[in-house]
């Protein structure tokens, strides 16, 4: 029996290598059904309540898509609050991945207390942003940074960000003073090529590119929300796609490819970049666009939000102020696409026994970070 919204990854293994990978999803696409016919303001309140782990990103996406559809231009403060909430939520998600999920997937004890401390601090700040604040307290940022220095990087975030090439990163791994450094070392020692895929990394989702690469199929192809593609091709979204130009990530991708280890390194790099960015207010001209929204035509709007897991799309079409059509495309749909990076990364993977294969598959899934629970089944081909 499976609950709504779980993934199952089935691996056919011939005793030596994986010969086939299937991904099955029971995620119900309920957003459209739920808000159809509702006034826009009511839909904006309902949508974020549906999702447990990226509620603030969903909130930013819903409000931005509905504003754009209604032809409204939100105040700069409201936009800053949305972007700040999305970034804060991403920091929280990354600490969770790095300190709880990743160690668990590698058979080590997670650092739950540190994540609990982060939640205690971030939750009220996120509530404040939802309730009218447009920035976060410098003390919160300093506390998050101190926590990351201690548990993730083992050195100040700025010092870690100065590690600009593979050798500097290897030095950090070798010293292994924190749990993530240790896990990275184990990963490089035991499965350096695990999860390697050649799937295209999604380009930065600017309004102009989205119009061209995504909007026609989003509007015209009913299966798009379950199996999306970028100009006809599958694409990987998330930390690795966003940080590919950062010198360290570029160097590791160049040396090792798009592997589990490179994806973990990209997550480490993006967390450090976000903590650095959070020291000053959001919304400057040079800042990455975490929330992008624009009108697609009369009564129709699209929002593209960069979440911890990657690109989240909301498209809204209104009719006389009520929702006529609503679509949500989650980042998981890109990364766990039947021909996407997870499937590509596991096809052909070698493993001496089924237990090792299952553990490796768990790590490959973890590196692409689905927003739902994922079952892994190994069968003999």
């Amino acid at each position: 029996m499976s609950l709504p919204g779980e993934l199952t990854v089935r691996l056919a293994w011939d005793g030596r290598r994986v010969v086939r990978v299937d991904v099955e999803s029971t995620r119900p696409l309920i957003a459209g059904r739920l808000v159809a016919g509702k006034p826009a303001a009511e839909a904006a309140l309902m949508l974020p309540r549906l999702y447990s782990i990226c509620g603030h990103a969903q909130n930013a996406a819903a409000r931005s898509a509905l504003d754009a559809a209604a032809g409204l231009a939100p105040a700069p403060q409201a936009l800053a609050a949305r972007a700040t909430a999305v970034v804060l939520e991403t920091i929280h998600e990354y600490l969770w991945r790095l300190l709880i999920d990743w160690p668990r997937a590698m058979g080590r004890s997670p650092v739950v207390a540190a994540v609990a401390a982060v939640r205690q601090r971030i939750t009220p700040a996120l509530q404040g942003l939802a309730g009218g604040d447009d920035s976060i307290a410098p003390a919160l940022v300093a506390a998050l940074e101190a926590l990351a220095d201690e548990h993730v990087y083992g050195e100040p975030v700025d010092a870690w960000l100065n590690r600009a090439d593979a050798a500097a990163f290897d030095g950090w791994i070798a010293a292994g003073t924190t749990l993530p450094a240790l896990l990275q070392r184990e990963l490089m020692a035991t499965a350096p090529q695990l999860g390697r895929s050649a799937t295209m990394l999604m380009p930065a989702a600017t309004a102009a590119l989205l119009q061209q690469a995504v909007v026609p199929s989003l509007r015209g192809d009913p299966s798009f929300a379950r199996a999306p593609y970028w100009q006809g091709m599958t694409a990987e979204t998330g930390a690795l796609a966003r940080t590919r130009s950062w010198p360290l990530v570029a160097a590791l991708a160049d040396r090792d490819g798009h592997t589990v280890a490179t994806r973990m390194a990209a997550r480490l790099a993006e967390l450090a970049l976000l903590l650095r960015q959070a020291r000053r207010p959001f919304g400057g001209d040079g800042d990455p666009r975490w929330v992008e929204a624009f009108a697609l035509g009369r009564d129709e709007g699209l929002a593209a939000v960069q979440t911890a897991r990657g690109l989240l799309l909301h498209r809204a079409r209104l009719d006389d102020g009520r929702v006529a059509d609503y679509q949500v495309v989650a980042p998981t749909e890109w990364n766990f696409h039947p021909a996407g990076p997870l499937v590509q990364g596991l096809e052909g993977a070698e493993a001496p026994d089924a237990a090792v294969l299952e553990r490796h598959a768990r790590l490959a899934v973890q590196a692409l970070d689905p927003c739902v629970a994922c079952n892994i089944e190994v069968g003999h081909a």
Binding site: L3, P4, P28, I30, R33, L50, Y51, S52, G55
Partner: protein, 78 residues
């Protein structure tokens, strides 16, 4: 994406651990990230951890929202 379906806490078999009921399916979850959870409370669960405690009205409202969307959590799920 992860649906925020409220899960009812059935029992607390050991410290920091709860058994929750989600549409007739019972699961063990960690309580390390939430405070003061009692049997009968509703929590939001994500991969092995209870994330948030909901007050009863909020839980009721959310369950109703899901029922409206065709997900009846009180009935056992397929």
């Amino acid at each position: 994406m992860c649906l925020a379906i409220p899960a009812r806490v059935v029992s607390l078999p050991e410290p920091q651990t709860a058994v929750v009921d989600l549409g007739g399916v019972q699961k063990r979850v960690s309580l390390e990230l939430v405070d003061d959870v009692q049997p009968g409370d509703y929590v939001i669960v994500h991969v092995g951890y209870a994330l948030t405690k909901l007050d009863p009205e909020e839980a009721e409202r959310t369950l109703q929202t899901f029922a409206e969307a065709g997900i009846d959590v009180d009935a056992p799920l397929r």
